[in-house]
Amino acid sequence: MNGPILEVEGLQKSFGALKATDEVTLDLRPGEIHALIGPNGAGKSTLIKLITGEIAADAGRIRFEGQAIDTVDAAGRARLGLARSFQVSQLVPDFTALENVMLAVQGASGESFRFLRPALADPALTEPAAFHLAHAGLSGRERVAAAALSHGERRRLEIAMALAMRPRAFLLDEPMAGMGADGARDLTALLSDLRTEAPILLVEHDMDAVFALADRVSVLVYGRVIATGSVAEIRADPEVRRSYLGEEA
């Protein structure tokens, strides 16, 4: 299939008088990283939540692999292959790293109603989980509780869990949040490779990472997309420079 994997059309969401998402239209194409940038409070996280189905849109349409998913709930969208990571790590703290990823493998498989066999003795869970942990650079950390991992490792575990969903598209909400320069550089390399697995809609504040990674960039200000284009186009766009990038660019 050559069309976009994910199409968002005229999406709207208001909280009282605040228009958090205002007629947003964008798409995600195979093999690309599409970065979503914008100042704090621009509605980036709201947009991600509308796409994942955590909150319901007031108007607009979302199509995923050509199919309307507006009436599919969040868990259903995840099973269709829409994998998200969280801005603030949402891990099961008393599960080990391996168990966290096993949970994602299990969720994607849709088979949670098995009561007797220990999950840790189920190679259909443990083997893919170990594989995805290694892919995310967490080999050797399988048995460590998520709560005991370093911040950078938790960010990687978020990625490993998204990978384990065998996703058709990634929605990554600030995967670099709180990372030091070295960690951010390593993670940038990991994300760059991920786009070959599935395209990425990337919300990120780290402009170095965005400009290094993104094939396309959309700029969100007050819930509206004010520009979409290549990195060079966005850097040159006068409105973007005025409203967001400022002296940084």
Partner: protein, 325 residues
């Protein structure tokens, strides 16, 4: 075996040892106390599944305990009188066979848990506590005002129900039945918690947003756990009725819900043998302090306060040196 498993096995062995020593010493009353502790522990194993592993604070588990008790009592009283329990849509006779009573008690408790869970699990936090409490109190008042089975006075049946090949009137033999069921429930609980289902249940407690994001709907997982939990507590209720040969609305009251909760919290929330440690400690305190003062529950309250403040892992957590589950 890790340390937690050794503690679980040790607590169970201690319960059995108390009963055996009491048998050898000719103290049937102590065996009855151990039996009571085992039945309360079984009720707590049911609650622990949702409270400990699912994070769902049900304040209505007396409903399932009482339903199990009433199913046992009603079937036994009909077996005694010879009148059928129901004539429509089919004729159903009473029975005094434990092997027939248990599945019936569990099935009825499970169905009621399905109905209560389907409604109450749409709420969370303090609302969930209140809704489960409200359902249990409805059943309590229903039992009080239902004269056919004793109403407020409760329902006595004079002969303990039977089990093939055993004399259920012999305290140690009845204890053996209860202990085996408790062991099975603990084993089942250990399996469930480690299974795929248990993984989903624990994840839905600790990180519900994450569960949804990986495609797991917490509602169905929680409802299933609630039904299994209600069935286990219902079985405990049937045994409790048999222990006393008496069932009354008190088994359905919120005091009972609170007591089952105390077993779990005292023993250790989300610890496999927590309810066993808690129920054992409760019976021990009731027996030791109850003779000193009728206000012994004030001391229990104090103890509970200390546990919650200083040892959130309960008795099992303390035995485990504050280590993880």
């Amino acid at each position: 075996m890790n340390r937690a498993a050794i503690i679980d096995a040790g607590l169970f062995a201690a319960l059995v040892a108390v009963a055996l020593v009491a048998q050898a010493a000719g103290e049937p009353f102590v065996i009855t106390l151990a039996t009571k502790a085992a039945i309360f522990a079984l009720a707590g194993v049911g609650l622990n599944l949702v409270l400990g592993y699912g994070g769902l604070v049900s304040f209505g588990h007396a409903a399932f305990f009482g339903i199990g008790g009433y199913v046992a009592g009603i079937l036994a009283s009909h077996a005694m009188s010879g009148a059928p329990v129901a004539t429509f849509p089919f004729t159903m006779q009473g029975t005094n066979e434990m092997l027939a009573i248990w599945p019936m008690a569990m099935a009825v408790a499970g169905l009621v848990a399905l109905a209560i869970g389907a409604l109450s699990l749409r709420t969370s936090g303090v609302y969930f506590i209140m809704v489960t409490l409200a359902f249990a109190q409805m059943l309590y008042y229903f039992a009080i005002s239902w004269p056919a089975y004793g109403g407020e006075d409760g329902l006595s049946f004079y002969v303990r129900n039977t089990f093939p090949g055993l004399n259920t009137f012999d305290p140690i033999q009845f204890f053996a039945i209860v202990a085996v069921l408790l062991g099975l429930a603990l084993g089942l609980s250990a399996l469930i918690v480690r299974s795929r289902f248990g993984l989903a249940l624990r994840a839905a407690r600790a990180a519900p947003g994450r569960a949804v994001a990986v495609g797991i709907r917490p509602f169905g997982i929680r409802l299933t756990a609630f039904v299994i939990s209600g069935m286990i507590t219902g079985l405990a209720g049937a045994l409790y009725a048999d222990l006393n040969r008496f069932v009354s609305p008190a088994m359905l009251s919120w005091h009972m819900s609170g007591e089952i909760m105390v077993f779990v919290i005292l023993g250790g929330v989300g610890r496999l043998a927590g309810p066993l440690a808690g129920a054992g400690a409760y019976i021990l305190l009731e027996h030791l302090l109850g003779g000193v003062s009728e206000y012994w529950q004030a001391l229990l309250g104090l103890l509970l306060l200390v546990i919650v403040l200083f040892a959130p892992g309960g008795i099992v957590g303390m035995l485990n040196g504050g280590r993880g589950r």
